[in-house]
Subunit: 351 residues, 2 copies
DNA sequence: ATGAAAGCGCTAACAC
DNA sequence: GTGTTAGCGCTTTCAT
């Protein structure tokens, strides 16, 4: 032992039987005490608790789960942990699950379908009580596994599609449309798009589709676009903004639509530094409503992805269904508000 | 079924026996095939795989783990997921574990010792192959559990203390001392401190102690301090900076030391907005080296907490020890570099 | 190369 | 209120 923590070094991990012997109470009753189940007299209860504490017994959930075929785990499968959106979803999930027996277990897919399939397989092999998974697009095998698992499955973030069981999210197509409409209403015409180089980010794709759809209806097109991958989003936003503005100096752009707020913030900082008049000369908008935007000198127009709410609702659906396995799936579509901030001209909508 | 995913709805979850019956191969051999263990003829192997795929069989790890008393899980216990530092640690852990059989399972403590104890208990009850846990300070019960668990335990982030088994991190005391020295060397005298209101953030506390220690040795003291809790760190940094500067207008501060880079960035944005000459009139420094700083107009002086490296090293220690349970604990102290950025005057150190 | 039997540590179900 | 018995679905061990 490298230091002063004094403990009973356990060769063989302790079992219920050890507690049973130490307390002189049957294994079954020990089990009851440790799970607060069934009637146990105060006296034996204390004897057991005392013995367990004394020995430092930690129950073996593996054995418990096998015997009871109940596993209080919820598989949460998300693309990434590094872009601020999923940590917040997790917070929402945690908030709700903390008040239940359920415990989230997180798997990361890095936006790769085959990775998602593998992670899902791993997680399902622990026989969780439910699955919360980002997105509606999965490999065929993954969809089949979830459908066959016989547990509640909630697909989150997006509701533009066909859920396996339940879904909670926003319509990203609608989000793209709404932003396009706001930009058009404000009178901008020469619009640039800056986004991630991620063909597999279906939600970004749907927003883009909704966006261009409304532009088209109004006789407009995206004038230029710029993509990035990897690196610090703030830095990339700055660089991409410089690039796209320089490339269009002859016929300048009057609006930049960023596929996320982090690159949007980078763009905003760049504009402020260069003394570009925002929103007069150039309008800006992002997507996500990251809280961090509040700290910027001026607020970026954006649309909240309602991450916290999505996490909470998804967890609630799972919690409900665990106690009511017969329950049917449901789809909850949340409707985010457009936050105009200070980077979008406030122009009256033409009649 | 709410939609078009065609699957075999499984009433009773499939078992090895189902695959055995479907393939006409004994359960034991099926098990061998599915785990790639022992010699199995190519013919039976294919029969089994075919049957398993056909049925959509997902092995039950609960049963497997109980029978083999081997669980390929690594418990990762961290205070929070929302402040950018731990996601990066996770990335490092994942990178390494991806190349092994091991899988991380994350628990969040919210900086509460009693929560940490509870989470640890939960995790240990799954009999993981190892534990990675943030910090060296735990409740007595938590320390005892880890010491008695008979598995490798790596305490991360901090090495100023007494590890249970292994530790990987930096010396936060040294980090505080180094930053203080750099500030003093640059000639700043009237130093303010801005931090989190978190008595249980031992690492912040140690940095602070190291910091004031060096100031004291040089006949200096912190002139004023300001604390926050909750909210957007960027916003809070901005507000706190305003507050502390205003409060000391009579005898102005010439340096602000922020306990993390996010509030530091907020302070920096505030200064730029107000036209405060940084680093001439006022120097600034933070802590953590978050990549995001690169996107700011000028770079904040900071010290990298080496999160990625810590995560990787911790995971490596676990991976190594799982295959060598006799191995002894080890302590790895990483030494971060001070990044002066552009918010600290470059003044020659007085001879 | 394959199979049969025993049991991992716990809990459901049923006594008493 | 407490104890007994029989598994949960796998893997270990030992035969063959």
């Amino acid at each position: 032992m490298p230091n002063g923590h004094d403990t009973i070094p356990a060769k063989r991990p302790l079992t219920l039987r050890d507690v049973s012997e130490a307390s002189g109470v049957s294994e079954m009753t020990v089990s009851r005490v440790l799970r607060n189940r069934g009637d146990v007299s105060e006296a034996t209860r204390n004897k057991v608790l005392e013995a367990a504490r004394e020995l430092g017994y930690v129950p073996n959930k593996i054995a418990g789960a096998l015997a009871s075929s109940r596993v209080n785990l919820v598989a949460v499968i998300i693309p990434s942990m590094s872009n601020m959106v999923f940590p917040e979803v997790m917070t929402g999930i945690n908030e709700v699950l903390e008040n239940t027996e359920l415990q989230p277990v997180v798997g990361i897919t890095n936006y790769k379908p085959e990775r998602e399939e593998a992670v899902l397989y791993q997680m399902l092999s622990w026989r969780p009580s439910g699955v919360i998974i980002a997105g509606l697009e999965h490999t065929e095998a993954a969809s089949a596994m979830m459908a066959a698992a016989g547990i509640p499955v909630v697909e989150i973030m997006d509701t533009d599609g066909d859920p396996i069981d339940s879904a909670v999210g926003i319509s990203h197509r609608r989000a793209g449309r709404a932003m396009a409409q706001a930009i058009i209403d404000a009178g901008y015409k020469r619009i640039g798009f800056l986004g991630t180089k991620m063909p597999l980010d279906h939600r970004a794709r749907k927003r883009f589709e909704g966006f261009t759809e409304v532009l088209a209806k109004n006789g407009l097109e995206i004038v230029d676009r710029e993509f990035y991958s990897g690196g610090s989003a703030l830095t990339k936003g700055r660089e991409m903004t410089e690039t796209i503005l320089k490339r269009n100096e002859d016929e300048p752009l009057d609006f930049l639509y960023f596929s996320n707020d982090m690159i949007g913030a980078g763009g905003l900082l760049y504009c402020m530094e260069k003394g570009i008049d925002v929103p007069g000369q150039l309008g800006l908008a992002g997507f996500n409503g990251i809280e961090f935007l509040d700290g910027l000198p001026i607020k970026l127009a954006t649309m909240d992805a309602m991450r916290l709410e999505i996490g909470r609702t998804a967890a609630e659906i799972i919690a409900k269904r665990v106690n009511d396995p017969q329950g049917a799936g449901e789809t909850v579509t949340l409707t985010p508000e457009l936050a105009l901030g200070q980077t979008l001209k406030k122009v009256k909508k033409p009649l």
